[in-house]
Amino acid sequence: MASTPSRFGGQTLNGNPAASKRTAGQASLEVGPDGKKPRFHGCSKISNYIMMSKLGEGTFGEVHKAESRVTGQIVAMKKILMHNEKDGFPITAIREIKLLKMLSHPNILKLEEMAIERTKGEGRKKAIMYMVTPYMDHDLSGLLENPSVHFTEPQIKCYMIQLLEGVAYLHASKILHRDMKAANLLINNHGILQIADFGLARPYDDPPPQGGKGGGEATRDYTTLVVTRWYRPPELLLTLRKYTSAIDMWGVGCVFGEMFKGRPILQGSTDLNQIHLIFDLMGSPNEENMPGWSTLLGCEGVKSFPQRKSTLSQTFREQGPSFVSLLGELLKLDWRKRVNAIDALEHPYFKSSPLPAKPGEIPQFQESHELDRKKFREQKANLPPAPAGGTVGMGPDGDFINGASNSNHHGQYRPRGGLGGYLNDQQPYPPRHNGYEFRQHGPQREFRGPPPPPGPPPSQSRRPAWPPEANGLPPRPPPPINPVWGGQVHRGSVPRDEIRGRPPPREGGVAGGPRVDTYIPSYANRDDGHRDRDDGRRGREDGQRRDERGDRGRQGERREQEHRDPGRRRSRSPERDRNRELYRR
């Protein structure tokens, strides 16, 4: 059904080219696309779907794979739990739904509809609502962690083009995603990449980027409490409030590098560490490469940085000058000059050999979800024990991690037939994520990786795929404090600064007026018990990532660490925690 109400008139937003491309099959304004169906009615019922398997679960809710009885389409259904919610229906969910209903692009995850499960004795009990989206087999982060998956350069180019197309469409539609990262990019076995998770997105009030003009300038303030730290651009870390669509482009650059390196390229442990890593890679800021940087508020009060030269071409020397050129454009410190999506698509990188693959040429990878994993566990049990000290957790080729810097990776393209076997092989290392429920997992999702091999004591034989310190995912930013809606402080503030050691946002914001961007009320009455639980959970989730590399032996140790250091291990989107708080209650 929802397909119906979302098919509106043929107008495009601002007549932008990306949007107008898709007006070919204009629906009439007065009738539904099929000429009679009502275009405006309630949600569909859960009974329209056959639940197939659980893909994951967490505090946010369960995610199921399901088949539509109406269309036969395979979908993912994300449950929106309505606990005793203080402010009613989760505002992030409403906003995400609202945005998704307005967007339509092959590289944006589509919200098919909302499905309702009516519980018995309606009235007292609340209905359970599901967001129905197409089923995607992987998310980029999970796929990169899968040791059996090797990205070829044509494949990376193909993904990058799709990513840039999607971002160009978003920006042309005047929407900022604000949480660009590998985990939010879903990929299916037809080689299609889609941008997901619009929980932090918001309309952009300034002119969309134009070809050749970078990100342009913003005229109003937005909240800086956005974007997962590892993907957060320098201007946000230095507290620029008038930021532009260029913040998403930085994230695209990070993902670009990540596809080659196989892991996030800038894994800061704190905001300050993050900005240092950025300046290590891109050179320290000066008035030339980042005009106006010194007038920004700085990062945690720090405003001076040691002189450094860019190490970009050194770090990515094996990827070739054309790659370095594009990455350098995407990771430009100067947000005004940082390339926009329109121009990035025209970069010579995409026109040089090896040429981008077509989505259909990309090999298929075996899907894997939480419950599938049991199956893999059994398979795994029959495998020989992992070699001591070896690169356990990597693929049969052993070069999953290092492969990124392996020059033989270059231009290496496996014809489809060569990989066909993956689908039938007993794959011990399936992709870990399915790309739907990532951030919302509770502790149940801890055991996502392959099971420990029976056999030698794991503590020494299993190493993380990369140095452990690089594994600690960063904590998310604090939830927005003192949200300001139209200049008034809406709800009580929560002294949560100690978590990040960050100065509290100025009450009332910089402008102090209605132009200040906010997105979410803070939640004043959280008790410490909650927070501890939350943090513990966060830590474990994070551990999950390590587990996925087969690092099971370290589990006990990790648990302890979490206990001591609950806040430092998870790359979490800024708002997620708040959601978690919300959903738990």
Binding site: R7, T12, G32, R39, D517
Partner: protein, 300 residues
């Protein structure tokens, strides 16, 4: 990778179908059609009044009224006998404000509604004339903690019910900004406003705001450009501003018939509101479920 035939909706709204307009849950539940229209009017009025008291911009209030109308639409929509219009009005306004950038606390919203629903509130008095009006009695609209908690639970539950009924389509595109753009395009809104051009703009927006109360649910049957064109047409005639003598509405993709229908629809609003005023002089329009039950019973 061909894009699917999906549309971007920031300039258009989902519209009601003929089926949805010809029948409604409320009617199936035994609410006579004329009473239903009165209830819709009362709900829109209540929402508007509450929005003003909450000092919300008209943009949010108008969106809330449209969502209120969407909720009670069609046989799959809500029914006035199940979900009281006061609750739906409050939840529409609360939710619309929440997703805007001026969210209101549940307490502010409920305080305002407690005031507006109290027996001595201006809304419960005859709409015109000061004669016989009682002064609002502060005790009658004081919201105790217990009733606040109960009202809050109802508010949040109603919010969920609304979201489901409107299929989560919270996007409401208003014709107001469209109308201003059209006025500029027509060259009747010079950069430095004259008395006449200001009057024209004000009258255009007034028509658009009045249309929110139309029993014909104009916001659910016509797209923003059509509403904007009709409002401009009518306002220009009233303020006596000369518009191009050609069929200028064609430029905005509005045909003559649509324009004619809407001009009549907008023009009839005044009479409709007047008749509502006269209709509810003795009693006020039933705003709560109990009042509605009584009213339906009295009609037999």
């Amino acid at each position: 990778m061909e894009p699917e035939a999906e549309q971007f909706s920031s300039l258009s709204n989902p519209l009601a179908t003929v089926d949805q307009l010809s029948t409604s849950s409320s009617q199936l539940d035994g609410v006579p059609a004329d009473l239903e229209s009165s209830l819709r009017f009362a709900g829109a009025q209540l929402t508007q009044a509450a929005g003003i008291l909450l000092r919300l911009p008209q943009e949010i209030i108008a969106q809330a009224i449209v969502i209120f109308h969407r909720f009670y639409l069609g046989s799959e929509g809500g029914s006035f006998r199940i979900n009281a219009l006061k609750d739906v009005s409050a939840a529409s306004l609360y939710m619309t404000a929440k997703i805007s950038f001026l969210p209101q606390s549940t307490r502010s919203v409920l305080n305002v509604y407690a005031y507006l629903l109290s027996p001595t509130s201006p809304l419960r008095q005859p709409l015109e004339g000061t004669a016989g009006k009682e002064k609002p009695d502060a005790e009658s609209y004081c919201l105790s903690e217990g009733s606040y908690q109960a009202a809050r639970a109802t508010l949040l539950q109603t919010e969920s019910i609304i979201l489901r009924a409107i299929s989560f389509i919270t996007q409401v595109t208003l014709p107001h900004h469209v109308a201003l753009t059209y006025l500029q395009t027509l060259g009747v809104l010079p950069p430095s406003p004259t008395e006449k051009s200001s009057a024209l703009a004000a009258r255009t927006l007034a028509h658009l705001n009045t249309a929110l109360f139309s029993p014909q649910l104009l916001y659910l049957t016509h797209q923003p450009p059509a509403l904007a064109v009709a409002a401009i047409y009518l306002a220009a005639r009233e303020v006596e501003v000369k518009l191009p003598s050609t069929e200028w509405w064609e430029v905005f993709d509005v045909d003559r018939e649509t324009l004619g229908f809407l001009v009549v629809g907008l023009g009839s609003c005044e009479g409709w509101i007047q008749s509502e005023k006269e209709k509810w002089t003795e009693t006020s329009c039933p705003l709560t479920l109990d009042e509605l039950e009584e009213d339906v019973k009295r009609r037999g």
